[in-house]
């Protein structure tokens, strides 16, 4: 096959090009021709097509995501905002923390183990690229029905992949989510979060500056991974013979990534890196164009110097390859020798593949012939932007009108007891330790709290005890009923979870998982959810530092529930003051904080007992969330509570059961005046938590709540070895434990 050089492209303007096969629209192809003033070469076409894809260009979501910047709250803690690999937050004492959630949904459905594993690998490299040492990971997951046969294929593979990669990398897994719902059948969600820590001065950015500086590719060799459709460019003709056979699946090598981490941190320590970018989706196309676009000059790359695993790869394929465990650094010429030495020390292959030029073009050569000559911004940052039409779905009104208030409620104590047992044993409410027990949560020796605690918490300074806490949440059922409120409820819950452990919420990241943007109903959900999230962040004072959008999570006409996953990062000055969730001290008083209303729309109860989804989700009151958080943080700081647990799906009874099982102690509960037992136990009103208060602190604590105007109701006492709702029923802890802990092993064990 003749090489499609820039010269050749100039000479053959009328050659048919497979832009449609590469996923480009006619007008997008025309725009590329207009930008270049000629037809693109095969390599250029490959770059544009992948960089202008939904995944890389955010073309459908961009107009909505802008609100995160426009409505960003004043916040001195934000050191690096949206637009970089990950945002960076000042957590004090000279430390900065970076964190981000990303999706790897589709690959994890095709090949659960490798899809999930490479999802972890990708987000870890994003964090590393900011200059930080990765210190923890989390994994928000959504699967189809727990008893569906395909879930038995997908879930164990995903869990083994996340564990296999993360454990081997030495990153404690400190939390995540596991939710089952038939809407995720065929579209499981595998989101992965990573947190990294650095000193302020260590922050690195993805930009190529300084004429003459070298472009170094280091890490794994480049193979034919994840090239997919681009292979049409590699075949002589893209009609008859069809594309060369290239795997769409990438295989991860966590060992290589561990070396990459240690090697990169050593390169940072010796100040050998001017700019750096990880290679993820779109591989070298993305890394070179983003580095050049963000920098001051141009870039020249000799593509034939890239070390290959497969010598038959075409230049187009090398540009597109999504081979894992690679990084691209910009290095001053005088520092190259030391750079390569450190790579050699870590058995990491490193190659100078090009340099920063004083021009404004990204130029790529193949054995001396030019195959790419483009303005990098047009590839990386000035892709198409769509104002997709959106409209509230017709069914939304009917869904909201179909409230949970008309569902039959338990009439006898016996029925209530049975329903409690059923809810705590249901797959979504059951213990997830069958899964989390496959993740190393101790490695690095800084884990203060990990699953099933409300948030994961790691110490970042051994001397002072400074630590950070992270929680992720996202209730797709609520979001389906009302995407605006649903996004805020996800934010509120995550925020509350962080505060429950005693940490002060600082900033958020998010992963927005939705159906097809070409469906106006889905686009409406997306618009509402982003608006809700942006408004919520403004009110809570927690800026969005970054995130990820995953669209097209749908099969045929059926989209997943809108699933905005929100991760909140908090800081705690001394991890010694963290508040755990376990009720461990007999005789301590249980206080319910916040207001309980009759709110069962979208609840766990409505799902488990009636397989029902309808009505409105619980009301959002972010002012109340803020107040609750302040109380929880003060209580932790001043030692007024020994345990706290946030209330969310499953309501009070779920929270109490979890805290009792965690501490191995029972509780005696009394239904407060003005509430019926059912609502007391199962309502999912937001803005609530339950705390365990030592008797000696009771007065001080209730005074504080009273003075600040937070309702605090004494609802019981830590006692015995059962959960008793006085006058109604008693459930022995052993029976609850069996119900709560037996479900997942029975399904997947």
């Amino acid at each position: 096959m003749t090489l499609d050089t820039v010269k050749h492209a100039n000479e053959t303007p009328d050659v048919e090009q497979p832009w449609a096969e590469l996923g480009l629209k006619q007008d997008e192809y025309e725009r590329i021709r207009a930008i270049l003033g000629r037809r693109p070469t095969g390599a250029e076409l490959a770059m544009y097509s992948v960089m202008w894809s939904e995944h890389c260009s955010y073309k459908s979501s961009k107009v909505h995501l802008r609100q995160f910047g426009e409505k960003a709250p004043e916040n001195d803690a934000l050191l690096v905002g949206i637009g970089e690999n990950a945002g960076v937050v000042d957590v004090g004492q000279g430390y900065a923390v970076t964190f981000k959630v990303e999706s790897h949904n589709h690959p994890s459905y095709i090949e659960p183990y490798q899809g999930a594993a490479t999802g972890v690998g990708g987000i870890v490299r994003d964090i590393l690229a900011m200059g930080a040492r990765p210190v923890a990971v989390m994994d928000p997951l959504r699967f189809g029905a727990a008893d569906h046969p395909d879930t038995k294929r997908v879930l164990p593979g995903v869990v083994a992949g996340i564990g296999g990669y993360g454990n081997c990398l030495g990153l404690p897994n400190i939390g995540g989510e596991v939710v089952f719902d038939p809407c995720y059948q065929g579209n499981p969600l595998v989101n992965a979060l990573c947190v990294g820590v650095m000193k302020h001065e260590d922050i690195h950015l993805a930009k190529a500056s300084g004429t003459g500086n070298k472009v170094v590719l280091y890490g794994a060799r480049t193979g034919g991974d994840g090239i997919g459709g681009v292979s049409v460019l590699a075949s002589e003709t893209f009609d008859s013979t069809g594309p060369a056979k290239r795997p769409a699946v990438q295989v991860g090598d966590p060992f290589q990534e561990k070396l990459l981490i240690e090697c990169t941190l050593e390169l940072f320590r010796e100040d050998l890196v001017e700019g750096i970018q990880d290679l993820g989706g779109a591989g070298l196309s993305c890394a070179t164009s983003e580095l050049a676009s963000a920098g001051s000059g141009g870039m020249r790359v000799e593509l034939d110097t890239v070390p290959l695993r497969d010598a038959t790869l075409s230049p187009e394929e090398i540009l597109m390859s999504e081979s894992q465990e690679r990084m691209c650094a910009i290095v001053e010429p005088g520092k190259i020798d030391r750079f390569l030495e450190i790579c050699e020390k870590w058995d990491v292959i490193a190659t100078v593949i090009g340099e920063v030029t004083d021009g404004e073009r990204l130029e790529i050569f193949w054995h001396g012939e030019q195959i790419v000559d483009v303005p990098p911004r047009t590839v990386a940052h000035e892709g198409p932007v769509y104002e997709r039409p959106y409209a509230r779905p017709e069914w939304q009104d009917a869904l909201q009108a179909d409230g949970a208030d008309k569902l039959p409620r338990p009439e006898t104590a016996e029925e209530l007891r049975a329903q409690v047992l059923k809810v705590v044993a249901s797959p979504n409410q059951a213990s997830k330790s069958w899964i989390t027990g496959q993740y190393d949560r101790f490695v690095q020796g800084n884990t203060v709290l990990a699953q099933p605690e409300d948030s994961g918490m790691v110490r970042i300074d051994e001397e002072t005890g400074l630590g950070v806490a992270v929680a992720t949440d996202g209730n797709g059922r609520y979001a389906k009923l009302d995407p605006y409120a649903g996004a805020q409820l996800a934010l509120a819950e995550s925020y509350r979870n962080v505060a429950a452990t005693g940490a002060r919420p600082l900033a958020i990241s998010n992963c927005l998982n939705f159906g097809s943007p070409e469906d106006p109903g889905v686009m409406w959900q997306f618009a509402e959810a982003t608006r809700g999230l942006a408004d919520g962040c403004l009110e809570l004072g927690t800026p969005v530092t970054g995130g990820n959008v995953s669209l097209y999570n749908q099969t045929g006409e059926t989209a997943i529930h809108p699933t905005p996953v929100v991760a909140v990062l908090g800081v705690i000055d001394d991890v010694a003051r963290r508040t755990p969730m376990a009720f461990a001290e007999e005789g301590q008083l249980l206080y319910l904080l916040g207001d309980t209303r009759d709110e069962l729309g979208g609840s766990a109860w409505s799902q488990v007992i009636h397989d029902h989804l309808g009505g409105l989700p619980p009301a959002v009151d972010l002012g109340r969330e803020k107040l609750l958080a302040e109380i929880l943080i003060s209580a932790s700081r001043d030692g007024m509570v020994d345990a706290a647990h946030d209330l969310s799906d499953g309501g009070l009874v779920q929270a109490v059961v979890e805290s009792c099982l965690r501490g191995g102690k029972g509780a005696r509960l009394v239904v407060p005046d003005g509430l019926d037992a059912f609502t007391f136990l199962f309502s999912e009103s937001a803005g609530r938590a339950v705390v365990s208060v030592p008797r000696s602190e009771e007065l001080r604590f209730t005074d504080m709540c009273g003075a600040r105007g937070l309702p605090a109701t004494r609802v019981g006492v830590v006692d015995g070895d059962s959960v008793e709702v006085q006058g109604h029923f008693t459930l022995p802890l052993a029976e609850l434990r069996e119900a709560h802990e037996g479900t997942l092993p029975a399904l997947f064990g």
């Binding site: 081997c168 030495g170 989390t436 690095q444 020796g445 800084n446 884990t447």
Partner: protein, 226 residues
């Protein structure tokens, strides 16, 4: 002058920094050792920490066992240098045959991470002198290749010579023969175990227990009094 404990880093080692911290907390001086360096830098004892050296590819510990640093460790261990292998380090020690037997995939085939109760069966080794024989301790266990196997004769020999140092309590987590969690060589200077004492040295962190500190205070006592 305190004793110096070398902590080896192989490519893929994960718990080297944690082990150095544990050594420091116990009042010893940690000395990082690099797999390519034959020189042990006059350390008084060596810990082979946990992790996935070489990704656990081929077999856990199989590739690291051939590193330059191990040549010296093997030679000096035979001469009495105290060596502790934790998890991946234990796997390396069995691959070198400094300790008998081998480590295989857990019988349930899953990675397992949990707080594990152990009985200290032998409190006479270089690394367990600060415990009492029969003492029960809890330390984190985290591995996928933790099933200890050896032939019957070797097992009988280990039992007869009191060389089973730790046994799992409250349920065998992985199918290890005779509930063996850790063993020693005949001289008592080389000890290997699957659970992670270095993750149980500080209150609040990990499981919040400090039951693992005894390993490091044991070696401290041995080194400063001898």
């Amino acid at each position: 002058m305190t004793a110096r404990v070398g902590v080896v880093t192989f490519p893929g080692t994960l718990d080297d920094r944690d082990t150095q911290r544990a050594v420091r907390i116990a009042g010893l001086e940690p000395v990082p050792l690099w797999h390519r360096d034959k020189d042990l830098h006059q350390v008084d004892a060596v810990v082979l920490p946990g992790g996935f050296s070489y990704g656990d590819y081929l077999r856990a510990g199989a590739i690291s066992r051939f590193s330059p640093v191990m040549e010296t460790v093997i030679e000096q261990a035979k001469g009495g240098l105290p060596v502790l292998g934790i998890c991946n380090g234990f796997q390396v020690l069995t691959e070198t045959h400094l300790l008998p037997g081998a480590m295989l995939r857990n019988n349930h085939l899953h990675f397992i991470c949990r707080d594990q109760k152990l009985r200290v069966e032998n409190a006479d080794t270089a690394w367990t002198a600060d415990y009492e024989a029969g003492q029960e301790i809890s330390v984190p266990l985290k591995n996928i290749d933790g099933r200890y196997v050896a032939d019957e004769r070797t097992l009988d020999e280990l039992e007869a010579e009191g060389r089973v140092v730790f046994r799992y309590l409250d349920g065998n987590p992985n199918g290890s023969l005779r509930d063996i969690a850790g063993i020693t060589n005949a001289a008592g200077n080389v000890v290997g175990l699957m659970p992670h004492p270095e993750h149980a040295v500080e209150p609040l962190i990990g499981t919040g227990r400090t039951d693992g500190l005894g390993f490091f205070t044991s070696i401290l006592k041995k080194l400063v009094t001898s």
